[in-house]
């Protein structure tokens, strides 16, 4: 096979792979243009010279960058991250206008990530708010701590809204929390109360059982024998729990003697 035919075959393969992938229209277009150029030339050298004249020679890197941004845009659109999608469009336009844009503006990747972070961090903060609520709700003993944790996590909400009540009412955020609607309402009410700076604690007390405790203290000598029997028993060793091979298996337990 002569050199020209091999080159065409190679570029044909690139067109085929990038053309069949939905994320790579710019690379597909880049290689298609190369293939067209090769078909219009009699040698690789001629094609290379012409590619330098029409800008194709240096367009490969920007095609890769644009596809990468385009892939981010597609994902953003699918997830409803409109500001991210718009930002991606702006970047693609800038790369089209200046093929060296990605080399002189390397911060664009960090800027893009920052835009995406707003959405991810909101989801993560919403999860943490539920953990804050759970930690408080289990015994409701330390409202100040809960108010501080909740305040911290509320600050991280930004996309699609920074308002907790708005987010909590959205089906996509409701789906983040695995609990009944009744308990979800307790969660959202508690977060809103904490945001307003007030949570009611539970005062746990053994006061109601003082007679029972006193009775136990007075009769403790009658329990000596039972307690000694219990105390004389050997201490059970701790245990090693080994995971099964698959999710439908059972743990294996081994005493550590």
């Amino acid at each position: 096979m002569d050199e020209m035919t091999t080159t065409k075959e190679l570029y044909g393969l690139y067109v085929s792979r990038f053309g069949s992938c939905q994320r790579t229209p710019y690379q597909a277009d880049y290689y298609r243009k190369w293939l067209d150029l090769l078909n219009s030339c009699s040698s690789n050298e001629e094609a290379e010279e012409k590619s330098k004249e029409n800008g194709l020679y240096t367009a490969g890197a920007s095609a890769v960058a644009m596809d990468r941004i385009f892939a981010n845009k597609q994902a953003a659109m699918e997830m409803g991250w409109t500001d991210v999608a718009e930002f991606c469009d702006e970047i693609i336009q800038k790369i089209k206008a200046d093929p060296y844009y990605t080399f002189t503006h390397t911060s664009l990747w960090a800027d893009l990530q920052a835009k995406k972070n707003g959405w991810i961090w909101t989801i993560e903060a919403f999860h943490r708010l539920f953990v804050d609520f759970r930690e408080f709700d289990d015994t409701r003993t330390d409202p100040d701590r809960a108010i501080a944790s909740i305040a911290n996590d509320l600050k991280m909400l930004s996309k699609p809204s920074s308002d907790f009540a708005t987010l909590a009412a959205m089906p996509s955020f409701r789906a983040l929390i695995d609990c009944s609607d009744e308990y979800y309402k307790e969660f959202t009410d508690t977060v809103l109360k904490a945001a307003a700076g007030h949570l009611e604690p539970i005062q746990w007390s053994a006061q109601s059982k003082q007679d029972e405790i006193e009775d136990l203290w007075n009769k403790r000598d009658t329990l000596t024998e039972e307690c000694r029997q219990w105390y004389s028993q050997g201490v059970k060793p701790p245990c090693l729990r080994l995971s099964p091979e698959s999710a439908d298996g059972k743990y294996e337990l081994i005493d550590i003697e």
Binding site: R23, V235, S246
Partner: protein
């Protein structure tokens, strides 16, 4: 300025200054940037929100641009110093493959990464068949081998890491399973970016959600351990058995029993209300039931755990059914103890933890993850092959 923020700002300033640019105009830009950065740091008081605000302000972007500018200026200066170079001859497949041979040599001491290594070997075989670079690249492209170097190695490592995880822990395995799905679908870099973005949102949404049920059970277990353990019932029994029985300590342990019982009942009501599980449902769930006990991972990515004796689970179940639910008196609770044969319970000590770790390692030594861990130690190398998709295990 907040000390944490000050530390972060100092890190950025050091980063730029350590690049030692000789360009006077860039030096001035760095000085201006430092002033801007310090003013921003003085305005911000909360380290939690500092980073996102830093990104939003554009200062992060400016930092990246300045770093690139310094690097490009240094490269331009180097090129000017080295003069014009002659046009390079066309590379041979052998020359083209050189960097790949370096990567291959780097990871070949880890035969467990067979999936990635096989792609390298195939690439080298094709290289040996051709003297012309275009013919070579065409054959490589037919199998999409350049992408497979990254994707196959990553898929291999992900599959290996899965064998070091507890398959019952859905919150733990979720991200890896989804990652495998994404990498299997990807055919090029842009595809992987798309799928990784989708994956990032999916994992953020679901991995934490899958962990939520166990939080309730852990809370229940803690209350029951206070009720039944040394802070409660067992503390009282030990004081009575040994005769070392100061009244304040005795009353304290008895009060703990009373309060822990109330708290356990409240937590169980919450579990029923929130996720619809009863105590028996928890006990029949192979994964959740052990969350009632204090456990800690001893090897792999949660492949084995050490915990108090397994009989403690029966003991807690007994306490729940016969003491907490019927709310029997403290004295009746102590009186029924001798009929039980469980004995005291305790958490493992360091030595036992080490023994458990050795036992688990022996048992799992043939699993790919543990071979991988050993080979990683021997080879002393970084995981992953690059292109921005390194895996951190």
């Amino acid at each position: 300025m907040d000390p944490t923020i000050q530390m972060m700002i100092q890190g950025y300033i050091d980063g730029l200054e350590n690049m030692n640019t000789k360009d006077a105009s860039i030096k001035q830009e760095i000085e201006d940037y430092k002033k801007e950065l310090i003013a921003f740091g003085e305005k911000e008081s909360d380290p939690v929100t500092f980073f996102p605000k830093f990104q939003e302000s554009g200062l992060m972007g400016k930092y990246m641009d300045l770093s690139t500018k310094i690097t490009m200026a240094a490269q331009a200066a180097d090129a000017a110093a080295s003069g014009n170079k002659e046009k390079k001859p066309k590379a041979t497949p052998e020359q083209w493959l050189e960097p790949f041979r370096t990567s291959y040599d780097y990871i070949k001491n880890m035969p467990i990464r067979e999936r990635g290594l096989a792609v390298y070997r195939k690439l080298f075989e094709i290289g040996e068949k051709h003297s012309d670079i275009t013919e070579f690249l065409a054959e490589v492209e037919k199998d999409n081998l350049l992408w497979k170097i990254t994707s196959e190695d990553t898929l291999g490592i992900l599959a290996i890491s899965l064998t070091g995880m507890d398959p019952l822990s859905k919150g733990l395995t979720y991200a890896t399973l989804k990652n495998i799905e994404a990498w299997e679908k990807s055919v090029c870099e842009a595809d992987a970016y798309y799928l990784q973005d989708i994956l990032a949102e999916d994992v953020a949404k679901n991995a934490a959600r899958l962990l939520q049920p166990e939080h309730y059970v852990i809370c229940l277990g803690l209350h029951m351990m206070v009720y039944r353990g040394p802070k409660g019932k067992e503390g009282l029994m030990e004081m009575i058995a040994t005769g070392n029985c100061p009244k304040p300590a005795f009353v304290g342990a008895a009060s703990n029993m009373v309060v822990a019982k109330q708290q356990a009942r409240r937590t169980m009501e919450t579990i029923k209300k929130a996720i619809g599980l009863s105590f028996d449902d928890i006990l029949t769930d192979e994964y959740l039931k052990y969350k009632l006990l204090s456990t800690s991972n001893v090897c792999g990515l949660s492949k084995a755990y050490v915990q108090s004796n397994s009989n403690v689970l029966d003991l807690l179940a007994d306490a729940w059914r016969n003491e907490i639910v019927p709310d029997i008196s403290l004295i009746d609770s102590i009186r029924r103890e001798p009929s039980l044969k469980f004995g005291r319970w305790r958490m493992p000590e360091d030595q036992e933890h080490k023994k458990a770790e050795e036992l688990a390692r022996r048992r799992f030594q043939d699993l790919p993850y543990f071979k991988y861990e050993d080979q990683l130690k021997d080879a002393n190398i970084h995981v992953g092959t690059g292109e921005g998709f390194d895996i951190k295990l």
